[in-house]
Symmetry: C2
Subunit: 453 residues, 2 copies
């Protein structure tokens, strides 16, 4: 079916397994460490936070994990998601490149996050858990978990980064419509939150702080567990349905991608699209060039250090070997582009260290300019996060225009911006700055790395 605007799969063609890339890598990723002993963290260390099945998936040496039928039943509400050929954008750019985007905004909450929220809620419910706690920054993850908890009858409690809580009232309303309970973070409800507020009463919060709060609350309640929306191996694995579908859709298009470009915050959307294509590349069946794009305001891959660091600010999690800006990193509260986590998924950091993917950072004004151009040609207003990948895709398409190369570019349009429109307002009014992370702020943030990291 070459020549189409979009490539659809029937729900019977939906992947029935997630792909775990770890066993296929030339070297295994470094394990998480217990912060007290310095020894690899075992399943017992994680049991207060995650259900057994997710702990098993986190350390699995199997290349494929079956997706439960009850999860497929919910996936079917929006999956398989469409693969689009951006013909109208190509025409506007005057490029010989072929630009494809895999669109995850068709999910009920408008992003890729339910791909992992749904199985996480399912496994917790199956193991008798009645309540999940989590953090959310921009709000995409909290919305997804609220939706997933509604589908399996779980209570859902979300700590939303203060800056986002105040700036994004619609996010709170969406989560509450699904039945979730919201708290701004830092909050007075946890020791971690109270400690931050004691020192910084006006703290605008960070994902690291919100994670500390959600983890603390889950650990204190036998019937509760914690859910994380990115970073961990099992989260990235759940997202591989994106890439597995895209592979089949490229067969329908009778094409193959030369370049794959995704945005990276914690790394789950990027890993979800890229890992199945990387499998093909490692097996010699593809020569695709894979690139991660991150904000200049939070440049973990391009300017962070590769070291053992905590996943949260209070130091409650195991130590993870990852690209990090330091767990005390506080993003600029006016940064509108999302992707603000201080670390990068350990699995993705390892793959980057192996030289299997490239990375670049882009300032947010160029990203929003790409978002506006995309909206006015392709219709969908992209969420701030994937505008980073769109900006890099447009750079590549314009390079092709100069060289005359007709590359196929695949990008991950992981969500729409319906609840992020004030960021577009800031861009259109000229109020937006690029707020690149300064050398001094980076040095200060990295100084907080744990000893021996």
């Amino acid at each position: 079916m070459p020549g189409r605007t979009k490539y659809l799969l029937d729900e019977t063609d939906m992947p029935t397994q997630w792909y775990n890339i770890a066993p296929d890598l030339p070297e295994p990723p470094p394990p998480p460490l217990h912060p007290g002993t310095g020894e690899p963290a075992g399943p017992d260390d994680l049991a207060p936070l995650f259900p057994q099945e997710l702990i098993a998936q986190e350390v699995s040496d199997q290349s494929y994990v079956d997706i439960p039928g009850a999860v497929l039943d919910v996936y079917r509400l929006w999956r398989p998601s469409p693969l689009f050929r951006a013909r109208r954008l190509e025409k506007a750019l005057g490029t010989p490149a072929r630009i494809y985007y895999k669109y995850e905004g068709v999910s009920p909450v408008g992003s890729h996050k339910p791909n992992t929220a749904v199985p996480q809620a399912y496994y917790n419910a199956a193991e008798g858990i009645t309540r999940l706690t989590t953090e959310t920054g921009a709000g995409q993850w909290g919305s997804a978990l609220a939706f997933a908890c509604a589908t399996y009858g779980l209570d859902c409690e979300v700590w939303q980064v203060r800056a986002s809580y105040d700036q994004k009232p619609y996010r709170k309303l969406m989560m509450e419509t699904y039945g979730a309970t919201l708290h701004p973070s830092p909050s007075e409800l946890t020791g971690a939150g109270r400690a931050v507020l004691a020192e910084h009463p006006d703290s605008t919060g960070s994902l690291g702080i919100a994670i500390s709060e959600a983890v603390e609350m889950a650990a204190a309640d036998q019937g509760a567990r914690y859910a994380l929306g990115s970073v961990l191996n099992h989260v990235l694995m759940h997202q591989t349905v994106i890439g597995e579908e895209a592979l089949r859709q490229f067969e329908l298009a009778e094409d193959t991608p030369d370049v794959l470009i995704g945005c990276t915050g914690g790394g789950s959307n990027f890993g979800g699209l890229a890992f199945p294509f990387l499998r093909e590349k490692l097996a010699g069946r593809s020569g695709v060039d894979i690139r991660a794009v991150e904000p200049a305001a939070c440049p973990t891959l391009t300017r962070g250090t590769y070291a053992y660091d905590f996943g949260d600010t209070a130091g409650l999690t195991p130590l993870l070997k990852m690209h990090t800006l330091g767990h005390e990193f506080i993003p600029d509260p006016i940064h509108a582009g999302g992707l603000r986590y201080h670390g990068m998924a350990p699995l993705l950091s390892h793959i980057y260290e192996l030289g299997l993917i490239g990375a670049q950072a882009i300032g947010q004004r160029e990203c929003f300019a790409a978002g506006v151009q995309f909206a006015r040609t392709e219709g969908v207003i992209p969420a701030p996060e994937p505008t980073h990948a769109l900006a890099a895709s447009i750079q590549e398409a314009l390079r092709c225009k100069e060289t005359g190369e007709s590359k196929a570019i695949l990008t991950a349009l992981c969500g729409h911006a319906h609840l992020d429109l004030p960021a577009y307002g800031a861009y259109l009014s000229g109020a937006m700055t690029d707020n690149e992370l300064s050398e001094s702020d980076l040095e200060q943030s990295l100084a907080g790395l744990p000893a021996g990291g």
Copy 2:
């Protein structure tokens, strides 16, 4: 393919013609009248406001009109839209009924409105027009026209009802992202707006007033035309792609609807889904029971009168024979459910008078309760408008549960609520009232009908 959660069509199976129901009706609908002469309004009366092709479609006696290729190219960005079987909602209700919903929220702006915004912008651009003016209430239509104008390079100027302009800042940002210019209505920019403000400086506005402003501005500029998002024949005709697709999708499902339930404001979403099914019924190929659902706060079909009335408040339009609450009707500004226009599409009003469809009004708390139940089972948070149809569909499904009937219910889920979440917040907090239109307000509003109406 019975047993699926959703029924998809490939873009090559997209309808290539719109369906015009007028020639198939047992009696022709009464014509619009020139308010000065009382004679039927002719093409010349409409030429300052609409391009020739749309005027021709408005009075067409052809059953089918070809969709231009350039329109199909844009439709392909989201069409064909999916037909869903609401299996999770059915289970929650414990009903033997089969509930299907045709989902138009997959369009870039999240509603059915682009189905007509795109061809309207196309025909204007093709006839050399450079600027379109329009009104918007809840904001769905203004967003759709802003998107459509961006795709064909037209300027777009939108008068947004004041109450909505103030309560829905995200709508303004969406339209501006597509490049449109926004004004709250009533405005000081037009004679119609100034006249209202002189008498009511704090006016919260109405669709009727905003239409007057947009019409006035278009008529004053040779290079500009006006675009209407509902009510007129050509608008309803453009929406019939919804029903034509649904007919094909029911073939895939190997099922047929026993009941079709849609919400009605101006009537375009309802007509779009219902008219192709009504064609089948008139031809004896279907026994489907077709029902319109409207808000108790704006009950044009169930409590309005069938008379000639103006389409706008200032009396600038031809007189239309329709169910109306009177063109001076001002909806309660706290009404959150949309569907606030004072009249009903003349074509739909005529069909109702012929006894071919039924109608009922529902209070908005029942509607939002249905919306929340739908969100927590099917995932999508429905726009306020289609919650009216969902509430009636749930009523029908629960009747089936009592009687044991296994009816197939088809409803029109014409959009999602991402930009209407404050309405859900009002419902969840208990602040929402049913604000049924009072007898005295109805009498006062009907007293403004033109003489001889």
